[in-house]
């Protein structure tokens, strides 16, 4: 069965599922952000596992260059570096917004925040069917 011998793919798919579920189901903003990070890491795992060639070591040149065959395929790992940068920046932005919301609403529970009507006046007459 394909699932048993490529552990990395199945692991990353499972991780992706967990990340997606936490992102969606939790009310707490912080949990959502954590869920998002899990999702991203699962994708990175999947990508890195694609580049892995058994019996070779990481594509980092310590003291001397041992030739192409000694190292694992470097491209996926390079991709993941940019992926991590992107994930970090998004998390930073999300946290900033959550702090701002916390300052005004005093709670991080998204449901509470959404139930309180917004401050600018035209919002309230939007939702009722007048």
């Amino acid at each position: 069965m394909a699932l048993f011998h490529n552990y990395y793919d199945s692991a990353s798919i499972v991780l992706f599922g967990i990340g997606l579920a936490t992102l969606m189901l939790n009310k707490n903003l912080i949990k959502k952000i954590i869920g998002m990070n899990i999702m991203d890491t699962s994708v990175f795992l999947f990508l890195v596992s694609k580049g892995y060639i058994a019996g070779r070591n990481a594509p980092i040149i310590t003291d001397r260059y041992e030739g192409v065959t000694a190292y694992v395929n470097p491209i996926p790992s390079a991709l993941i570096l940019t992926g991590i940068v992107v994930a970090v920046s998004v998390t930073a932005f999300l946290l900033a917004l959550t702090i701002k919301l916390y300052e005004t609403y005093g709670t991080v529970d998204l449901e509470e925040i959404l139930k309180v009507k917004g401050d600018d006046h035209e919002v309230n007459n939007q939702s009722s069917l007048d």
Binding site: L47, L79, Q126
Partner: protein, 490 residues
């Protein structure tokens, strides 16, 4: 000759550099000047690119001048160049418009942030259009997502932040899916460059039937979220209606389009027409497009807030674009691109007009706009022209894209789809006409409204007028635009 081919990269770099320089500029006035000069300069470059492509066809550009495709490759065909110049044209006009309106909408210290975001956003949009490398595309999509969320949140009211948060979460899910899609493609083709992937897929796609299907699904849903495809559009009305006018104009008109175009690139250049038609994902996109068209217009009918109304109408128009893609024929994709251009020009004009209306009357609900046609006649006239293109009065681009869509439907002998196209344009009429009629006619509408009382300064009106003029020209020269676009997509 080499210099010409590197122009696209220069364009993107100019915009990025200008964005990075802006924090050092002290006064807001200079910020605006820097931003617009960067944009105009890149617009000039884009026009040069278009002429170059017109003369000697599409060309590739490998960053780093290495002829081997190791670095990131940009592909500049007729569609890309045209989209690039037209989007820049609209962004410049929206920026000029924002010079005067942004001060009243957002706080003093946020203006600098706004213009940085605008430049970054335009840079990333050009990147998404040009790249021939899917991971590079992913990076630019991420930058675009963050910056577009930035220009939404810059208003910092309660609702605004909530909407921005909702938008950001939804787009992160989208980009997660796209990344997973890229990972899948990489896993079984080993390349990131679109053309190489295409050759790889053509060789042995039979083994990866299921994987290919999943990647297409991932890309569709990921990009669908970002470009407000029907079921995944719930973030758009809140984000666009609470954002400041300039940014909502940018968002609706420009930001949604590159993601849809990226989907076209993946579908037709990476995987190829015949292969894509085998999977029934195309019919799903088609049905979602139709539902989008109908749902968008129907929802807009019951809207009271004018910005939400126009936001819902852009969902409907995105529905048209996905309808074009969903037809599965190269000509369908060409019409989708043409509609992108037409809609970009019209929607930005409509948003800017509604912004002016809100600024002058202080209300956002339509019922307060009775007799407005009398008070601010020019803005309302421009709004009416924009609305006419949406409704599909002949000569305007709206009508032409509807005509071509229907002709394409008949060629693929699906006559029922034409009903959907016409029904949605009729529904447009149902919600645009009351605004226009109540504005211009009716005794009690015009009871105590003096003529020209809410006069709008001309410099705010110039960009809108330019856009409407561009719209009419687009309508007039639709034939040669389409001849310019369609060969490339075959």
């Amino acid at each position: 000759m080499k210099l010409i081919t590197s122009l696209p990269l220069i364009e993107i770099l100019i915009l990025f550099i200008s964005a990075f320089l802006m924090p050092f500029v002290r006064k807001n006035k200079n910020i605006k000047i820097v931003s617009v000069t960067a944009l105009t300069f890149s617009f000039i470059l884009s026009v040069v690119i278009v002429i170059n492509v017109l003369q000697n066809g599409a060309f590739y550009f490998n960053t780093g001048y290495i002829d081997t495709i190791l670095g990131i490759q940009l592909y500049i065909g007729p569609v890309e160049s045209l989209l690039n110049s037209l989007f820049l044209f609209v962004i410049i006009l929206v920026a000029c418009f924002s010079f005067f309106t942004i001060d009243s909408e957002i706080r003093e210290n946020r203006i600098k942030l706004f213009y940085i975001m605008v430049n970054l956003l335009s840079a990333s949009i050009l990147g998404v259009i040009f790249t021939n490398d899917i991971f590079n595309g992913y990076v630019f999509i991420e930058v675009a997502a963050l910056t577009s969320c930035g220009i939404v949140v810059v208003k910092e009211t309660q609702d605004n932040i909530k909407a921005a948060l909702k938008y950001l979460i939804m787009s992160t899910i989208g980009s997660g899916l796209i990344l997973m899609g890229i990972a899948f493609i990489y896993s079984f083709t080993g390349h990131l460059n679109i053309d190489l992937i295409h050759q790889a897929i053509l060789e042995d796609y039979t083994q990866y039937q299921k994987a290919l299907l999943i990647t297409i699904a991932l890309f569709t849903s990921g990009l669908g979220v970002k470009s407000a495809m029907f079921p995944l559009h719930t973030w758009l009305p809140d984000a666009h209606s609470t954002a400041p006018t300039a940014s909502s104009a940018l968002l609706s008109a420009i930001v949604l389009k590159p993601f849809a175009f990226f989907l076209i690139k993946i579908m037709y250049r990476m995987i190829g027409f015949d292969l894509v038609n085998q999977f029934n994902i195309i019919t799903i996109i088609l049905t979602l497009g139709c539902c989008g068209m109908l749902f968008g217009s129907l929802a807009a009918i019951f809207q009271k807030n004018i910005k939400r109304l126009i936001a819902y109408s852009s969902i409907a128009q995105m529905g048209y674009i996905f309808f074009g893609i969903g037809l599965g024929s190269p000509f369908g994709a060409a019409i989708a691109v043409y509609h992108m251009i037409g809609h970009a020009v019209t929607k930005s004009a409509l948003f800017m007009c509604s912004g002016l209306m809100i600024e002058k009357t202080g209300y956002k609900t339509i019922d307060n706009y009775k007799g407005l046609g009398h008070e601010m006649p020019i803005t309302f006239a421009l709004f009416t022209l924009g609305a006419f293109s949406m409704i599909g009065i002949p000569i305007f681009p709206g009508f032409i894209s509807k005509w071509y869509l229907s002709i394409e439907c008949i060629h693929l002998n699906q006559l029922l789809l034409i009903f959907v196209v016409l029904a949605s344009s009729l529904l447009n009429a149902v919600y645009y006409f009351p605004i226009i009629i109540n504005g211009f006619f009716g005794i009690e509408n015009l009871k105590n409204k003096e003529y020209h009382s809410k006069k709008v300064e001309t410099q705010k009106l110039l960009p809108i007028a330019a856009l409407i003029l561009a719209m009419v020209l687009l309508g007039a020269f639709s034939k040669n635009i389409l001849d310019f676009i369609s060969p490339e997509l075959h």
